[in-house]
Symmetry: C2
Subunit: 145 residues, 2 copies
């Protein structure tokens, strides 16, 4: 790492630091998920589909900060692998609810373990207490504003 | 916000939370920078070019977690507006160093104020002490691993 740029004002901006932390974390998580033929985005959709909540595509897009077209492509990919199915949403007949198949739930469980491990590895410079505090503050940051 | 999805395991993963916090922060910062005809990425390059460090394109790419081709396009855009110039790097004659013109430095200073304000607005759910703690933890997360 080049220390020269760390002395700049940009290196103290939360916007920049969040983007960089995310790039570092995503690269490591993508590499860790590769043996399961998943990436962070497809894993996120699968994890939500396997959560028992049966989200609609619109809920997935909003929650994951992705476009509707990106969600459709991700769901298509998981559906073609037999990991999720589209069913009619019980609360809104015009919407599809996405739920994981038994194979999808099994893969989601495996992937969740891998992502947790990747998180600890990516954040090896933080203590366990610091990781928990970061999680708590990011949760506030991600769900206000 | 849909509380249903907040109960899922994904909502506790730092990888997911960082991606979401970044999406929220970037959208707000981009909107705030629009009057200056800047976006977060072009602003980041301009801020580093105006910092006095005169980074090379390679340093910019590494620091901002962007591809070389993205950096070239961003520098081209700023150069065509007279905000930065490419000069021969004093430490490595084969590299270009990017430095801001007086107009670039003036715009970078304006933009930095806007980005700081956008940061406070985006993180309105956090106290000032929590923002500082988040900054500190993100810095550790962004520069280890």
């Amino acid at each position: 790492m080049d220390d020269r740029l760390l002395t700049t004002g940009l290196a103290d901006e939360i916007e920049f630091l969040t983007a960089r932390a995310r790039a570092v974390g995503t690269a490591h998580a993508n590499a860790s998920l590769a043996p399961l033929d998943l990436r962070v985005r497809s894993y996120s959709v699968l994890a939500l589909a396997a959560s028992g909540v049966d989200p609609t595509q619109r809920e997935l897009a909003e929650f994951l900060s992705l476009d509707a077209s990106q969600i459709v492509a991700l769901v298509d990919g998981l559906e073609s692998r037999g990991l999720v199915v589209r069913t009619q949403d019980a609360r809104d007949r015009r919407s599809n609810a996405i739920s994981a198949t038994p194979a999808g739930r099994a893969l989601a469980a495996k992937a969740a373990v891998i992502v947790r491990r990747a998180e600890t590895e990516s954040l090896s410079g933080l203590t366990s207490a610091e990781r928990d505090r970061l999680r708590e503050l990011l949760k506030k940051a991600a769900f206000t504003g």
